[in-house]
């Protein structure tokens, strides 16, 4: 699911009959507004007569780019915080974890809306997408930080770390050679999950009108559809596809992330109200 979306974004120009901003005209030269799906426009047209299919395919580029970049920023900040807090412990740990706690409690959407709204008013000379990526990336690292920290806490007590230290390895060396390889799979699984969150969040912010109007993502398409009364016009081809695309990608990321996580993190296997066969199995395991 995720790969199909990435390929779509990469090969966008090959898959689209029109550019996203091109107005499709009928034989009289008038724009085809709110046209239902046809041979000319596979998913119909919007209020200005532009092809929805092309917008959808190009929108994949924007949505995925924001999701991936913001996800990577969050992963980087979260892992750094987690490793530092877990490895060095003490005061640094206390400070970093309090920062995490504070960020966890502040409601995220209002905070992001206020941040993005004010940052856009300032003359930063950057694209609105960069603002979105930075804000999402710098706010969604808290769960990663906690997860990585707890993992580092257990790893640093292991024998091989003590041995490395005994033969004179420095902190930097231990973190790079002994801790990082151990937590890498966890970081990867977590990144996939964060990317799905980032894509969802981006779509929400864009829907509320904070996207880049010149480079519409799926969320921004839904914003247009909603603002230009696609619903009352019955233009389902305008508001269904972008949403389905978002669900497709986020669901793909969540499933991928869950599979990766489950492989690393075996949960409880059975409980006492299940059939007796399982119970016997538990008892046997317990006896070992």
């Amino acid at each position: 699911m995720v790969i199909s979306a990435i390929l779509t974004a990469l090969f966008a120009p090959l898959l689209t009959p029109y550019t996203p901003t091109e107005v499709i005209r009928d034989s009289n030269g008038d724009g085809l507004t709110f046209a239902s799906p046809s041979v000319h426009a596979p998913l119909g047209t919007d209020d200005a007569g532009r092809d929805i299919w092309s917008q959808l395919i190009y929108g994949a580029r924007v949505s995925l780019m924001v999701g991936f970049l913001a996800g990577f920023i969050a992963m980087f900040v979260g892992s750094t915080f987690g490793i530092l807090a877990g490895y060095f412990g003490g005061r640094l740990d206390n400070l970093l974890m309090r920062i995490t706690d504070v960020l966890l409690v502040i409601p995220d959407l209002p905070l992001m809306l206020v941040l993005v709204a004010t940052l856009r008013q300032m003359d930063l000379h950057v694209s609105p997408l960069v603002v979105l990526i930075a804000v999402i990336g710098l706010l969604y690292w808290t769960s990663t930080a906690r997860l990585i920290r707890s993992q580092v806490l257990t790893i640093k007590e292991r024998q091989f770390v003590a041995r490395a230290r005994a033969i004179g390895a420095g902190n930097g060396h231990i973190i790079r050679k002994h801790i990082l390889p151990q937590i890498m799979p966890l970081i990867v699984a977590n990144t996939v999950l964060i990317i799905s969150t980032a894509i969802l969040v981006e779509s929400g912010l864009a829907f509320l009108g904070l996207g880049d109007p010149t480079q519409p993502s799926w969320g921004a398409m839904l914003n247009f559809a909603f603002d230009r009364s696609a619903i009352t016009n019955g233009a389902w081809w305008f508001y269904l596809p972008p949403g389905l695309a978002i669900v497709w990608v986020t669901l793909g990321c969540v499933l991928l992330g869950n599979v990766l996580e489950e492989m690393l993190n075996p949960r409880l296997t059975a409980h006492h109200l299940e059939s007796n066969k399982n119970m016997v199995a538990i008892q046997k395991e317990g006896d070992k």
Partner: protein
């Protein structure tokens, strides 16, 4: 850590968080470009330099940003004075108060339904693990998690209004405004149905998942085996021993969820043009009404922080283990 220290630490953390929110709120709107005086009276109104200076002094803008302006603002906020909305020309606190009830109504009903349904389904799914019911419930919550809130709202709005004739806008029909509450209840319920349904579907999945994993954990405890060995039926075990213990994580989740619920309210109220705080927030955003945005953010953030603190207190009351150690 004993109980008192635990609570004191939580109170301390909440205070720090509120301080962070206040500082962010103050700073962000202070770094905006443009002259605050100009923004309030409008760019094209001609006023003399003297009047401008007088206004600056009146609003304390001639003093340094920190500490004078900061503590001035803080004092004003503490008294409930959040400034005047630019777009509505009314005091922000008054505007906020008028919308608060509607949002609490929506969030309250939605959360209540989500909790009741989610806990029940999660209990059943955990009990009958790996059956069709469990797999169905898991799939549902995964899909519900992946759907953007506002898009689900749009779908339900489109489907509900075309096929079932539900109203698409607002909280009561225009002809019913001002009538006594009891006579407009059916109309109100009709308007509330779709937004509440959206909210319930979204949060149901999460409660279900947490309840499921929590009940799985509880059911593998030894006291469940003992209860079973005493000859109690599955239902008795679930009701008397498992449910109470498995409910604990739900209490924390309700508080944590309040933050997400606020986000949900912003999206849902926008989609359904529901006249509450969320819609107000979105309007303030599009109209660039900064005093309103500032006040709304302060109110939402502080309420969520206090709700989290309340949940910590409740947790201590409910979980005897926190008392002892």
């Amino acid at each position: 850590m004993n109980r008192r220290d635990f609570l004191l630490r939580k109170i301390g953390l909440s205070l720090v968080t509120i301080l962070v929110v206040v500082v962010i709120d103050f700073m962000l709107f202070r770094v905006l470009p443009g002259d605050p005086i100009r923004s309030v009276i409008g760019r094209n109104v001609r006023i003399s330099a003297d009047t401008q200076q007088a206004l600056r002094e009146q609003f304390g803008l001639d003093k340094p940003v920190f500490p004078d302006q900061f503590f001035d603002t803080l004092g004003q906020w503490a008294q409930g004075n959040l400034g005047v909305s630019w777009s509505l020309r009314r005091p922000v606190s008054e505007v906020l108060r008028s919308k608060l009830g509607n949002t609490i109504l929506l969030i309250g009903i939605g959360q209540l339904l989500a909790i009741i349904l989610g806990v029940t389904l999660g209990l059943l799914a955990g009990w009958k693990r790996k059956t069709a019911l469990d797999i169905g419930a898991l799939t549902f919550s995964l899909v519900a998690w992946s759907i953007p809130t506002f898009w689900l709202g749009i779908i339900l709005l489109a489907a509900g209004s075309t096929w079932f004739g539900f109203p698409t806008v607002g909280i009561i029909s225009p002809q019913n405004t001002g009538k006594p509450l009891i006579t407009i209840l059916p109309d109100l319920a009709k308007h509330l149905f779709l937004p509440t349904l959206t909210l319930t579907i979204l949060y149901l999945g999460e409660y279900m998942l947490i309840m499921r994993s929590s009940i799985l954990e509880v059911l593998s405890e030894d006291y469940i085996l003992t209860a079973k060995a005493k000859g109690m039926s599955d239902w008795q075990v679930l009701w008397k021993h498992a449910l109470k213990n498995a409910m604990l994580p739900i209490v924390t989740l309700i508080a944590i969820n309040l933050g997400f619920t606020v986000s949900g309210a912003i999206y849902i109220e926008t989609v359904f043009s529901y006249d509450g705080l969320g819609k107000l927030f979105q309007t303030a955003l599009t109209k660039q009404d900064y005093p309103l945005l500032q006040g709304a953010f302060l109110l939402l953030a502080v309420s969520v922080i206090l709700a989290n603190l309340a949940a910590d207190f409740l947790y201590v009351v409910l979980d005897p283990r926190v008392k002892e150690t």
